[in-house]
């Protein structure tokens, strides 16, 4: 499912090119949530921010963070990918995710369609090992646990835990408990 944020904002009569403040984030979240009601288990929701310049921390907290938490639900898991983010949007998302992860002691991360200024295709506080696995999957599209163990050169149980944690964050997809896919 692809949602063009600019079109959504136009329909909601929100002033652009900036999406600022908590109330605006809440309105956008409610609207996207309605659309996401039809998403299939395991489907990827692509949010295209083309034409949007600034999204501030309040908007991010009310909209993107809540959608990521929704995606982690066990009842109807889905995946998220952000596209066409401005530099300031990336910067603001990164700050919110880092603060959230520090204070909640629970990492949040989101995959991106375009390469970010951290030279990776995600935003969020992933460790070097997690980062390597996400990048390995992005290049290879799908891998098994054995592939990951070969790549990481670490014990199987540790690599399995790494993959499970990344899946719980919705940074990678999992199928039948054995094969992992890029988002």
């Amino acid at each position: 499912m692809i949602i063009l944020i600019k079109s959504k904002a136009e329909k909601l009569k929100l002033k652009m090119p900036d999406l600022l403040t908590r109330p605006v984030g809440r309105v956008m979240y409610e609207s996207i949530s309605d659309s996401v009601a039809d998403i299939h288990n395991g489907e990827t929701l692509v949010l295209d921010f083309g034409g949007i310049k600034v999204i501030d921390s309040s908007f991010i907290d009310e909209m993107i963070v809540r959608l990521i938490l929704d995606s982690q639900s066990s009842e109807r898991p889905f995946y998220m990918k952000l596209k066409n983010l401005s530099e300031i949007a990336e910067l603001n998302i990164d700050l919110v995710f880092r603060s959230y992860s520090n204070y909640k002691n629970k990492k949040i991360v989101v995959i991106t369609e375009n390469i970010c200024h951290n030279n990776a295709f995600f935003i969020g506080p992933l460790s070097d090992q997690e980062r390597d696995i996400v990048e390995f999957l992005r290049v290879n599209k799908s891998i098994t646990l054995d592939d990951a163990v070969d790549f990481a050169k670490r014990p199987g149980e540790k690599v399995r835990k790494l993959l499970e944690d990344l899946h719980a964050m919705r940074a990678i997809k999992k199928q039948d408990g054995a094969v992992f896919f890029a988002v």
Binding site: K15, D18, P23, D56, S57, S58, N92, S99, Y100, K104
Partner: protein
């Protein structure tokens, strides 16, 4: 000749540090002065202008009367009129300016954002923030003329405006004001964004919070440099503002109650001190912020 009800205002409006002299006179103003003789003022910048406005509003709320500004030099009067200072309805002005003497809204208009009231209600404030961001975008090419190496800086300032203005209605429990201007002093170009309120201030905002601090200035420093929040588990706003100003090598001055913190990123060299505390200043209600770039 000035009587006891008249205070001759010193010429201390050139920056946030200079304005401390005017704040020191606040007790005399709130204690009974009715008239402010402005004849000595030769220059006034956005932070001092907003703080003077708050001083007048505090007086109006306390006494029910408007402070009278008189003997305002022509250039100052023109500037205050142009910045919509007089429209705020806080002061009584003697000697209205002749229509012919008013500054036209021409090229100068592009270098300022006039005083804008930020309401303390969420719904109204959201509209005002969107409008200010829009006005800023239209004028940014002029306001940031000397700093505009890429459009990125415009986005940075939109973030800063949004984050600080939201703090007014989320934390201060009062309305506030915003103004922005680029100007020159000698050969130095300055752009200054000021946002100020006379609400409960940072210390009171955190009084039911478990954040530990050594002094009021230390608490202000924590509010700027760490994601603490008085309302939520954690916050992002001021921390993000600080991070942006550091990237731009600018200066943040944040005053609240009787303390202030200055971060001088433009003077920071590796390992040097760049953050300065001041405690035990004269109390001035609320929180006043000034973001400055020099070049």
């Amino acid at each position: 000749m000035a009587d006891n009800a008249t205070l001759i205002v010193p010429n201390r409006f050139k920056d946030q540090y200079d304005f401390e002299y005017v704040i020191d006179l606040q007790d005399r103003v709130l204690g009974g002065a009715r008239d402010l003789d402005c004849s000595r003022i030769t220059f006034i910048e956005p932070y001092s202008m907003l703080s003077l406005l708050l001083l007048g509003r505090n007086y109006l709320r306390k006494s029910g009367n408007k402070l009278r500004l008189w003997n305002i030099p022509l250039n100052i009067h023109q500037y205050l009129h142009r910045m919509d200072f007089l429209k705020m309805g806080v002061f009584e002005i003697t000697g209205a300016l002749n229509e012919k003497m008013l500054l036209k809204r021409s090229s100068f208009s592009n270098r300022v954002i006039e005083i804008t009231e930020i309401p303390n209600k969420e719904r109204e404030s959201v509209k005002v923030i969107a409008t200010v961001a829009s006005v800023f975008r239209k004028r940014a090419q002029h306001i940031l003329k000397h700093w505009l190496s890429s459009d990125r800086i415009i986005d940075y300032f939109v973030t800063v405006i949004s984050e600080i203005c939201q703090n007014i209605y989320e934390h201060s429990l009062d309305s506030g004001y915003l103004a922005m201007q680029t100007y020159s002093v000698g050969r130095q170009n300055i752009v200054r964004l000021s946002i100020a309120d006379s609400g409960i201030g940072i210390v009171k905002s955190f009084e039911n919070n478990t954040v530990a601090y050594d002094s009021h200035a230390h608490l202000i420093e924590l509010a700027i440099t760490t994601p603490i929040s008085s309302k939520r588990e954690f916050g992002y706003g001021l921390c993000q503002v600080n991070s942006i100003v550091e990237k731009l090598k600018g200066n943040i001055f944040l005053r609240s109650g009787d303390a202030s913190v200055s971060t001088l990123y433009h003077k920071k060299t590796q390992g040097s001190s760049f953050l300065f505390h001041k405690n035990d200043l004269s109390n001035f209600d609320g929180t006043q912020i000034s973001i400055t770039l020099t070049g």
